[in-house]
Amino acid sequence: MVAAKVLEKASVEALDESALNEEERDFVAKNSKKRGAAGSPLKTIEREEVFFTLTDAGANAKAALLAANITGEELGSVTTSMLSSGSWKRASFRPYSLNTPPARLIPGRRNPYGSYLQWVKDKLCSLGFEEFDGPLVENEFWNGDALFMPQFHSARDIHDVYYVKNPSHAKQIEEPYLSQVAQTHENGWSTGSRGWRYSFDHEFTRRQVMRSQGTVLSAKTLPHAKVPGKYFGVARCFRYDQVDATHGADFYQTEGIVLGKDVNLKTLLGLLKMFAEEVAGAEEVKYVPGYFPFTEPSIEVHIKHPVLGWFELGGSGIFRPEVTKALGIDVPVLAWGLGIDRMALMHLGLNDLRELFTPDIESVRMRRGN
């Protein structure tokens, strides 16, 4: 009986198909299911045998591991228990891959533009300059009158300067400077000038504006300046301008003065040369006559920068006696201003002034100075 014989054998252990004769195979085929044995006495089990061998590369790796004495039991992260128990002494450390991309960190950082301005300040300090500062709201007296800009000067127009709405006027202007400046405008006072020959407006002079030029701070420093003295400031200024890549609503100006009995045109040129080399890294320096309402003579300094080529680094001059004498100073005063934003942009790899004051955190985070 084939059936009895097969079932008896199958109840002890699985039958090997290759060991059955044809009759038995036929019986098994008719009485088994491939999946789910329910309802049939037998089920078929299919087996596959797979053999692995090392390739040549694998064999080489195996040889290398054996040669390096690595067993697979190596340590991962160093743990406190590992250290306190000394278990690390009985094992070795698993080496890490050196080239896995590191995770990003967000460090606390200075703003590179701020760092650049600080560098300029430190540079000027190292050249013997003392820093000055002042309020953002000024009046027409300091913003223009004290600089001998006539009250009808086009740069003082409503389309050039921001007026403060309220309070529209300062309470008073400090004497004796108000009287001295007013007379200087009208008839030269005792400055040796003939003045602008118009009637000085004492109401207009108190009108308040947003500081439009850093030179305001130079003028305000004069009444209490030391002689000899060197001063500078990095002043936020405001102009009535369309905001674009080259004009900001507010921006920094770097300005200063040098007071001394013996300062003159040649020392002014020397000063400009020093700035050109020390602050701007200039390769060549060129001076040309310039014009500013408050200096005479006036000089522009142009430099050849290793990256930017030729450009105008700044304006300067000797303050007009109408400016200095009216503010109580009897020695010549060199006045200078440097356009450092252009170098700051280059330093930061930017080409749009608006970017200097961007609110975009990611942009500032990623910014590097050169």
Binding site: D122, R194, P228, R236, Q242, V258, R365
Partner: protein
């Protein structure tokens, strides 16, 4: 700064010899000019003039005159100027100013020119001179307005009066309609632009000839007939009206010299006033009104730092087209007819400097030894920045002007002590920043893409109203900082403040406050030595919502001037 366009042909003929662009660039600084561009196709030089007190340089003839003087050491001579002592024959040409003009525009002067046919280049040059003189020097025609007319149509004398704006009438240039002066102000483009200069006066300026033919309504518009100068005209009349006689005489002198340089013969006109002027009641124009100027040689040498000889000084001035004499102590100059910018001896010093050549002055370093130092505020700010960076904050830098929306509406405050700009260019820059916090929140609102946590700070200036100050405002140095992340809150902020004050070596206590910018009970004032120095807290969700921020945010702001 004035910019002019000059036709190559005209410029070259004025210079005598043509220059290459490189040669122009090299020599332009003598006139404080810059070559802005050279349109080869249109044959136009674009020139920028930097000296706003030298209107004589704002024309092709003016720049060329300065360059030629410098090159040839020549002084331009003009023989048509009357002086207080000597009057040139005006050939019966008169300009009569009537008493009524005093009510609106007290001065009008003029001269005529002939002997040269106006070509296109000259016409453009004249129009440009008019525009530069009247806009830049004449404050948009307020103090100087200039008109050019066809002299051969004029029956002298010319009359200038204050006329009834509703009765005086004529056909203005570029229109066919006969309009009263007031109608011109309302209808003509130039009336809309320049009418406001005289609109509030009882009478309007009116210029007409003895045959009652209208020349113009200065400073607004010429008539369509006598006032329409065209290519081919040969006889011109120039008129200048305004508020100050010196400025008008200078403008007339400049245009007369320019015309003479371009080949015109200048015909003087006697100008008669019904009232006294600095130069009498009858002035024959062009009129030389300038006073001689002088400078001590000692002062000049001290300013330049160079012991130039008297001869070198005279030579340098000659290069500038200025006639000079020296004695032992002084240099005396005759101010050129077309200039009026010698206010002080330093103005002579500068001309000597330019004429002698800047390259001939060797730079020297100032000898005086001085001590450099930063301000106390800057030193303290640096200390604060170092601690903030150590706490993991990114330093930001912001603009100091912003909008009502940013500083007031989004912050849910009334802004009653904020400084407002009276003439904002746009509503984006209408207020001065009263606090650093809106700047920090703006950052947060535009930085949702930046990996969190956000920790940012700024040390910068703020300003707001303060009645105790002379200006009614105060500018302060503030630290502001902000944190934003899903788990940012009061506790972390409190720890940061504590750490900051510890390393600044300042004591502080926290006091309750009610402030719409922060969540009640999770904010407070920082008080140091009995003085409120700052505020801090969890930013109120209503404020965050206004800014479009969806991340929990804390902020703190400290007045460093009070803490220092």
């Amino acid at each position: 700064m004035p910019k002019i366009e000059v036709h190559e042909n005209l410029f070259n003929s004025l210079l005598g010899t043509p220059y290459t662009d490189e040669q122009l660039e090299a020599v332009f600084p003598v006139a404080k000019a810059e070559l802005d561009g050279h349109d080869v196709a249109e044959k136009l030089y674009k020139i920028e003039l930097n000296d706003t007190n030298r209107p004589d340089l704002w024309s092709a003839a003016g720049v060329a005159r300065q360059l030629v003087s410098y090159r040839d050491k020549t002084i331009a001579r003009y023989d048509f100027f009357s002086t207080a002592e000597e009057e040139i024959d005006s050939g019966g040409r008169r300009l009569v100013v009537h008493e009524s003009a005093a009510l609106v525009r007290p001065f009008s002067i003029g001269f005529a020119a002939t002997g040269k046919v106006v070509d296109e280049e000259i016409l453009l040059n004249l129009i440009q001179s008019q525009e530069k003189l009247c806009n830049n020097f004449g404050r948009k025609r307020k103090t100087i307005a200039m008109g050019v007319y066809r002299s051969d149509m004029i029956t002298y004398p010319v009359h200038f009066e204050g006329a009834d704006p509703d009765k005086a009438h004529f056909v203005p240039l570029h229109m066919d309609e006969d309009l009263t002066l007031r109608e011109i102000c309302a209808k003509h483009p130039k009336g809309l632009e320049y009418g406001p200069i005289v609109a509030d006066k009882p009478v309007f300026p009116f210029l007409y000839d003895d045959a009652n033919e209208v020349l113009s309504f200065p400073p607004v518009i010429n008539s369509a007939r006598i006032g329409a100068v065209e290519v081919g005209d040969e006889h011109l009349f120039f008129e200048f009206s305004g508020t100050g006689l010196d400025d008008l005489l200078l403008a007339a002198s400049i245009v007369a010299c320019d015309c003479a340089d371009m080949g015109f013969t200048i015909l003087p006109v006697r100008c008669e006033f019904p009232y006294d002027t600095d130069y009498g009641r009858e002035i024959t124009v062009p009129y030389y009104f300038q006073q001689p100027a002088a400078c001590e040689l000692g002062f000049l040498r001290k300013m330049l730092g160079d012991a130039l000889s008297g001869e070198q000084v005279v030579d340098a001035l000659r290069h500038m087209g200025v006639f000079a004499l020296v004695d032992e102590k002084m240099v005396y100059i005759t101010v050129p007819e077309y200039r009026n910018d010698f206010l002080h001896p330093v103005d002579i010093v500068e001309d000597v400097m330019i004429g002698h050549g800047l390259e001939n002055f060797a730079p020297e370093l100032p000898n005086d030894s001085t001590v450099g130092r930063i301000t106390e505020e800057e030193a303290f700010a640096r200390k604060v920045k170092e601690i903030m960076v150590g706490l993991g904050f990114q330093e930001m830098m912001y603009n100091y002007l912003g909008s009502k929306r940013e500083y007031i509406e989004n912050m849910h405050v009334d802004g009653s002590d904020y400084i407002q700009i009276a003439n904002p260019m746009s509503e984006n820059y209408e207020y001065v920043r009263p606090s650093v916090i809106p700047s920090l929140l703006e950052s947060e609102s535009v930085s949702g893409h930046a990996v969190y946590p956000h920790q940012i700070f700024e040390v910068g200036k703020v300003a707001f109203l303060d009645d105790t100050d002379n200006s009614g405002t105060t500018t302060r140095n503030y630290l502001g900082f902000l944190g934003a992340s899903s788990d940012m809150g009061f506790n972390q902020l409190s720890s940061q403040i504590s750490t900051l004050f510890y390393f600044l070596n300042r004591e502080y206590v926290m006091r309750d406050m009610a402030d719409p910018r922060f969540i009640g009970g999770r904010c407070g004032k920082l008080v140091s030595k009995g003085v409120e120095v700052g505020i801090f807290g969890e930013v109120h969700p209503a404020v965050l919502e206004s800014w479009g921020i969806t991340m929990p945010t804390v902020a703190c702001e400290i007045d460093l001037d009070l803490l220092k």
